[in-house]
Structures are given as structure tokens and as C-alpha cells.
């Protein structure tokens, strides 16, 4: 009995040690990007490179980064476009999901299949015509260009539909009998009760579009219109290896998403598994 307990204890300690080792490996790039952005060149570009600051820390990498690229403006571009996309996707998904799952309009299945079908098309494959569309509308290098193609998504509609399918229909029917219009029901009954699903969709959409790369690279031409993800790549230069500076840029780009991932795992998982379970 006692021996058994000891062996369980040993096993569990061993497991935790292995996990600790794995966690150190996986978290190392995170640690190194944050620490490296604060390390002096004497530490980070020395040979051999140090992973611990022996000459103290400095803000100079971050200050230099902010001077080299219009980081503030790019932050604003990233936040503005990502928030606009997120709000718009919640709205368009909620509207379509309501019509599909609660109004159950005629031909809902066909509509649903069409919306799902849009998820099958890789965005990278249709990037040329989309770029030409934006160019022909004279919207290149504009804020609108950053958000326009992403104002609705098949995934968002799919998520809202799967959530609203389980919505208590008695509430809707009761409101209908009281003479409520559908828009009114959507706004004052369905929307408040859909907050968990909307939050999951919002977080998922925010992460996806904050981290977007190819589309902003194509349509934003000047540093003033670029998003932070494109901006930080400009800190890299082929002749001058300056990891402290590039890490500072990388850290600036990931701070919002690191906070979200650390705090909102439950919502993220709900968003992720909307696709995997059924």
C-alpha cells in the first residue's frame, strides 16, 4: 500500500519534470523574444549569444523600433481594421444565423450550404482578383481595402448557426405572439443571450485578423497604411543583424494576442471546437 503510493508519487513527479522540460522548450521563443527585446547588443549579438542579460536591460531597442517605423500609426491601423472586421462579422453572422436557425426561412439548407462553401475557397487562391477589384475601385492603400473582403465569413455564420440552433424557441414564439418584429427579437432577446457565442467568435476573429499577413502586405503600400505585422518585418535588414531590434518589433505585435490567449482560453477553445465537434 505504502510502496504503491510512493511509486505513484514518483511517477507523477517524473511526469511533471518531463512536462516542465517540454514547457521550457515550447516557451523558450516566447521568453527569448520578450527578454531579447530588452537586452543590450553586448548580450544578444555576442558570441556565444547569451540567453540571460549580463549587462542589464535597456529600452533602446523599443525606442529605436518606434523611430524606424511608424509603430503607433500601424498599431492604430491594426486595431482599427481588426475591430471593424470583428464587429462586422458578428453582425453579419448573427443576421444570417438568425434567418437560418430561428426564422428557418425557405431554402435555409441551400443558403447554409452556400455559406459553408465559401469556407472551402482558400483566400490565397483568389487574392489576385480581389486585389484587382480593390485596385479598380481605387481603394489601394486605404483603410477600407484592409477590411472590405472580410466583413463576413462562412465560419462566423457556421458558428452562429450551430449556437442558435439550440436557442429556446419558446422565447421567440412568445415574443412573436406579443407582436415583436424579428429585428426587435434579434436585438433584445437573441443578441443578449448569444453573448458567449459572440464572444468566442469575436476573439477568434480578432486573433485571425490581427495576425493577418498576405492581404495587408498587398493592399497597404506605404508604411502609414501598413498593419503592425507588415511593419515589423521592415525592421529586418539583410546586412545588419540586430535581433534586439527585431524582437522588440515582434513583441509589440504579439502583446495584445498574448494577453488574449492567456486570459480567454475557454472562449478560444469554444471557437476552435465549433469546427471539430460535428
Amino acid at each position: 500500500m505504502n510502496l504503491n503510493r510512493v511509486s505513484i508519487l514518483v511517477k507523477r513527479t517524473f511526469g511533471i519534470l518531463i512536462l516542465l522540460l517540454l514547457a521550457c522548450i515550447v516557451a523558450f521563443p516566447v521568453y527569448y523574444s520578450f527578454m531579447g527585446s530588452l537586452m543590450k547588443n553586448a548580450d544578444i549579438v555576442s558570441s556565444p549569444p547569451r540567453i540571460w542579460p549580463e549587462h542589464g536591460l535597456t529600452w533602446s531597442n523599443i525606442v529605436t523600433a518606434v523611430h524606424l517605423i511608424p509603430l503607433g500609426r500601424q498599431y492604430l491601423n491594426s486595431f482599427g481594421s481588426t475591430l471593424a472586421i470583428t464587429f462586422s462579422q458578428i453582425l453579419t453572422s448573427l443576421l444570417a444565423g438568425y434567418a437560418l436557425a430561428i426564422m428557418r426561412v425557405r431554402g435555409a439548407k441551400i443558403w447554409f450550404a452556400l455559406f459553408l462553401g465559401t469556407m472551402m475557397i482558400p483566400g490565397e487562391a483568389i487574392i489576385i482578383p480581389n486585389y484587382l477589384t480593390i485596385a479598380s475601385l481605387g481603394l489601394r492603400n486605404s483603410f477600407i481595402a484592409l477590411v472590405l473582403p472580410y466583413l463576413a465569413s462562412g465560419f462566423g455564420i457556421f458558428m452562429m448557426y450551430t449556437f442558435l440552433r439550440q436557442f429556446p424557441m419558446e422565447l421567440v414564439e412568445a415574443a412573436r405572439l406579443d407582436g415583436c418584429s424579428h429585428l426587435r427579437i434579434l436585438w433584445s432577446i437573441v443578441l443578449p443571450l448569444s453573448r458567449p457565442a459572440a464572444a468566442s467568435l469575436a476573439i477568434y476573429t480578432f486573433l485571425t485578423h490581427w495576425n493577418g499577413f498576405l492581404w495587408p502586405l498587398l493592399v497597404a503600400e506605404t508604411p502609414q497604411m501598413q498593419t503592425i505585422q507588415i511593419g515589423i518585418t521592415q525592421l529586418q535588414s539583410p546586412d545588419d543583424f540586430n535581433p534586439g531590434l527585431t524582437m522588440a518589433g515582434a513583441v509589440m505585435a504579439v502583446v495584445p494576442t498574448v494577453i488574449i490567449v492567456a486570459l480567454c482560453q475557454r472562449q478560444i477553445v469554444r471557437g476552435l471546437t465549433a469546427g471539430s465537434s460535428r
Binding site: P49, I121, P122, A152, V251, V254, A262
Partner: protein
């Protein structure tokens, strides 16, 4: 459980049947809703309008345009208007570089999906026990998910630096000589894959843990009572039960790897000597890089990509259909 459910259903129906006489005196409501549902087509389809406009302009129309462009040649002024039939496709499939690019794309999928899932599976199986320590671990393992392609690639490009990067330093510590991680044709694609594996681990672990968390406790308990423990419990009980999640991750991971762009752009720009150029990156090279504007050829490549992704998606739906049959 099984007896209470029909009972409550019976109660409900009896309440409903009692209510019917109450509802009867109000026929206007019924007829009104009926009239409404008859004129659904116009009023209710408004709800689809915002999403439909976006999809028409930015999914359906470009799909059609991709097809049209793939059959067009680009003139001297860069406008792709002349109809050239299947010439772009002939050029595509007779180009030895394109075969190499397809092989690169397939290898990249292999290099990213298999290690990502294997590592994530091991970690999630070890983490699958609700405790404070594990919650901290889970947050740590989820962190790479926060990193964008550009941020992750920037961090890893510092590691890959041949002179002062950490990876070569570690190799030197063990007595080897450094490797040209991004400049050697043999390693460029692998290095990009390594970066991608790191980026995707967080996402994969979150999905697998969600799957493991939904495994009913009594199944695990029953298996334990039958003497299954440790690796045998994991292998025979847990892994089969999270097969839907594994399947989902394999399919979405493959599609995602086919669509990878940012890490290639930041780390190697497809080089050296196109050894790390994948299908999507080649679309970019022909369509946009150096003002190439070879939209016809790039669109032909895009159609190949659409076709490949469509085939994988159909496989996904097939697999999910089977899963529903089992359940």
C-alpha cells in the same frame, strides 16, 4: 434519467393540450404568422443580404475571375485580357520548376502536420488532468498560438542566424559545425517547417485538450477498474475517443500548411534557388513580386490550389459523415 425524460415530455404535452383552447380564441395571430411565412422570400432574405454581398464580390466573383484569368495571357501593359486557351496550364505542367514546387508543397505539409500533431498529442495526454499546475502548463503551451506568422518568423530568423544564432550555437556546443538553416537548399524548407510547427502547437494542444476533456469520466474509470493504466489507457481508450479531434486537426492542418505564406516570405522569400517555394508562394512570385503581374500563370496555379483544397475538404466531409454514423 431515462424514465424522467418521457415523463416531463408528457407533462409538457399535457400543458400544451390544455393551452390549445386558450389559444383558440385568438386566430388572428395564427393567420398573421401564416401570412408572414408565405411572404418570407422578400422580407426575411434581407438577413442574408450583408453577408451575401461580401461573398458575391469577394468569393464568388473572384472565383469566376480566377478561371477567366487562367485562360488569359498578359499583354505588354500588364492587363490580362487576351484569351489564350489552356496555354497557361500547358506551361504550368511542362515546367519542371512547377513539379518541384508541388513536391515542396507536399513535403511542407508532411513536415508540419505530422510533428505538430505528434508533439501536441503527447503533451495533451500528459496534461489531461484538472489541476492548478496543469492549468499553468496549459497556458504556457497555448502561448505560441498568440504569435503571428510574422512575429514567429522574426524570432526564429534570429535563432537561424548562421553566425550568432542560438541553433548553431547549440550544435557547436555538441561539437558539430553550424548549419546554413535558411541558406542551405537542404534545410530551408525544414527550417520554415520547424517555425510553423512551433506556431501551431498551441492551437493543436487546445483542441486536443478540449476533446480529452469531453471524454466521459465513467469510461476512463471503467477502463481503470479493468486494469488499464498509463500508456495502455492512453493508447486503447483516450486516443480512439479523440479521433474526431485528431482527424479535424490533420485536415485543417494540411489545408493551413498548403496556404502558408508569411513564414516563407519573412524567412527565405522562397529561396535559395526556389528550394522553399510552395504553391501559394509561387502564386505571389508570379502575380505580385517585382511587379511581375503574370496574373494568367498565377491564376492557373491558384486553380490547382483550389482543386487540391477542395479534394481535401471532400475527404473531410466524408470522414465526418462516417463519424456521425458511428455516434
Amino acid at each position: 434519467m431515462s424514465t424522467s425524460a418521457p415523463q416531463s415530455a408528457g407533462q409538457n404535452s399535457s400543458i400544451r393540450s390544455q393551452q390549445i383552447p386558450v389559444e383558440k380564441p385568438e386566430p388572428p395571430h395564427r393567420s398573421q404568422t401564416q401570412r408572414r411565412s408565405q411572404r418570407t422570400p422578400i422580407t426575411q432574405y434581407w438577413y442574408f443580404l450583408p453577408a451575401s454581398i461580401v461573398f458575391c464580390i469577394f468569393v464568388a466573383y473572384p472565383l469566376f475571375q480566377t478561371l477567366r484569368l487562367s485562360l488569359s495571357g498578359t499583354d505588354l501593359f500588364g492587363s490580362a485580357d487576351t484569351f489564350v486557351g489552356v496555354r497557361n496550364f500547358v506551361r504550368l505542367f511542362t515546367n519542371p520548376d512547377f513539379v518541384k514546387i508541388l513536391i515542396n508543397t507536399a513535403l511542407f505539409a508532411l513536415y508540419t502536420v505530422v510533428p505538430t500533431i505528434a508533439i501536441s498529442l503527447v503533451i495533451s495526454l500528459m496534461l489531461n488532468r484538472e489541476s492548478l499546475v496543469n492549468r499553468v502548463f496549459r497556458t504556457v503551451f497555448a502561448l505560441p498560438f498568440a504569435y503571428s506568422v510574422s512575429a514567429a518568423s522574426i524570432v526564429f530568423s534570429a535563432f537561424f542566424n548562421p553566425a550568432t544564432g542560438l541553433f548553431n550555437e547549440v550544435i557547436k556546443q555538441f561539437g558539430g559545425s553550424g548549419v546554413g538553416w535558411l541558406t542551405d537548399q537542404r534545410f530551408a524548407l525544414l527550417s520554415i517547417a520547424l517555425t510553423t510547427v512551433w506556431m501551431n502547437i498551441g492551437y493543436n494542444i487546445l483542441v486536443l485538450l478540449a476533446g480529452l476533456g469531453s471524454v466521459p469520466e465513467d469510461i476512463v474509470e471503467a477502463a481503470r477498474l479493468d486494469g488499464a493504466s498509463g500508456l495502455r489507457l492512453q493508447h486503447y481508450i483516450m486516443i480512439p475517443l479523440i479521433r474526431p479531434q485528431l482527424f479535424f486537426l490533420i485536415v485543417t492542418g494540411t489545408i493551413q500548411s498548403l496556404e502558408s505564406f508569411g513564414q516563407i516570405h519573412v524567412l527565405t522569400k522562397g529561396g535559395p534557388a526556389s528550394s522553399s517555394t510552395t504553391l501559394v508562394y509561387d502564386i505571389y512570385l508570379h502575380g505580385f513580386a517585382n511587379n511581375n503581374s503574370n496574373f494568367g500563370y498565377a491564376s492557373a496555379e491558384a486553380l490547382v490550389l483550389i482543386l487540391v483544397v477542395a479534394i481535401i475538404t471532400i475527404i473531410q466531409f466524408g470522414g465526418m459523415g462516417r463519424k456521425v454514423d458511428v455516434a
